[in-house]
Symmetry: C2
Subunit: 251 residues, 2 copies
């Protein structure tokens, strides 16, 4: 079955509970908590170099998040929506200093032993990770606002994953413990953001077709997250072949 | 070393021969003739299902080529350039009937046993392949015309690869022999196209910085081709984990 397959015909508007259940189902099947790269991480089976590759590549994703949110901001003509959504840009960029999610991610990278400049420069990001993240930017730019907002709903699932991850990182990679502030902050931020976004989707998907589009946007976002870990696994775990010119741990 | 690393300082304009040599060097190091997926193909070690996955996914790339070339057409204000470049759209779409590169690729897919509709629908394309191909469209849309044209210069290297591939496919997968018209046609088309594009780049890159941009565009195109094969290898060879919902041979 394809990710873009059409669902069985149904034209009845889903109730809020049904919509929620359908979104949850997408998460259970496709969210990256099940990705083999994360499973290895949580079992303590990644080397320091593999963790560096993850942090380095995911920095590119982190660095695009406030840009993605600024695009969504720019697409709404509702000051109430914009006021609420603006918080996301602030969460990542910081209030008046760079004390936000991006800075915290850099500190996580530094805790793995990577120099700040190498991370921020993004020169060592795998091309495939770059393409996937840029596809996310494309999605929020070129689809409906409803779909752009719905694509953020992976945050419905992130709290459980972050909780699991923080425990695993502390247990298996104690040398990383000083770098976990990013995740600590997301434990509160993500569920509040997800709740707001879900309410927006529930209110603005007024036909079954629109609800399907929202569900599909979440599915596509899951694909975008999954593809990043596929690329990491291929390059740095098995077969372990980074493309010509890419980051090689320890070099 | 990163693919986006800056070359050692040099400000002297390269001669046409030096420029050609620099482009060739990129090809030797980064063109996908060296990719492990192609090596397996040429050694006859791919299964029919793996070949199907390749043909199916690469169809998405093939289907975007005339769109990519139409974007390049739209960006030139020189009728002479457009007249020459128009040939590429025709080569893929056909003259008055669909008898062009896209149709020939579909026939290759049919020779592997895939139904035409499954190929043309593009529903089973790996998300990572889609992102890489879309990054190519992005490149020709958003960079300079010089870079867009330079990104096509992988055709400088394609004749050798196609020659090798046709021999290998005939030898190792004789059941495919009836589907090789696509490659047969490209043997003549690609070198002519590459010659025109190279001349354009040589004429229009008037500073060393512009020459560097052209070389870098070719490098990025190589990354785009390479990433598609990485995704295929990961999903269908080793570890052999297609993402949730993706094509599974024989299903």
């Amino acid at each position: 079955m394809s990710s873009r397959a059409v669902e069985p015909a149904a034209s009845r508007l889903l109730s809020v509970e049904e919509l929620h259940a359908r979104l949850r189902e997408v998460g259970e099947q496709r969210y990256h908590h099940q990705h083999p790269f994360h499973l290895l991480m949580h079992e303590g089976k990644l080397t320091r170099g593999q963790l560096q590759a993850w942090v380095l590549n995911r920095y590119y994703y982190q660095s695009r998040i406030p840009i993605k949110d600024a695009i969504i901001l720019s697409r709404s003509d509702d000051p109430n929506f914009r006021r609420a959504w603006r918080k996301r840009v602030l969460d990542h960029d910081g209030e008046n200093s760079p004390e936000g999610g991006i800075e915290r991610w850099i500190r996580l990278a530094e805790a793995t032993g990577l120099p700040r400049d190498q991370v921020v420069g993004c020169k060592d990001v795998l091309p495939a990770v770059r393409y996937a993240v840029d596809a996310y930017i494309d999605l929020v730019k070129n689809r409906s606002l409803l779909e752009a907002v719905a694509s953020s709903l992976t945050e419905l699932f992130s709290r459980d994953l972050i909780t699991l991850r923080m425990g695993a990182l502390r247990r298996h990679y104690p040398w990383l413990s000083g770098g976990l502030d990013y995740f600590e902050a997301r434990l509160d931020q993500a569920p509040a953001d997800a709740q707001f976004a879900f309410q927006f989707v529930a209110d603005h998907a007024r036909t079954y077709a629109e609800q399907e589009k929202a569900i599909n946007a979440l599915r596509e976002k899951c694909e975008i997250l999954w593809a990043q870990l596929d690329a990491l696994y291929y390059a740095y775990v098995q077969p372990g072949w980074p493309p010509p010119g890419a980051f090689r741990p320890g070099e």
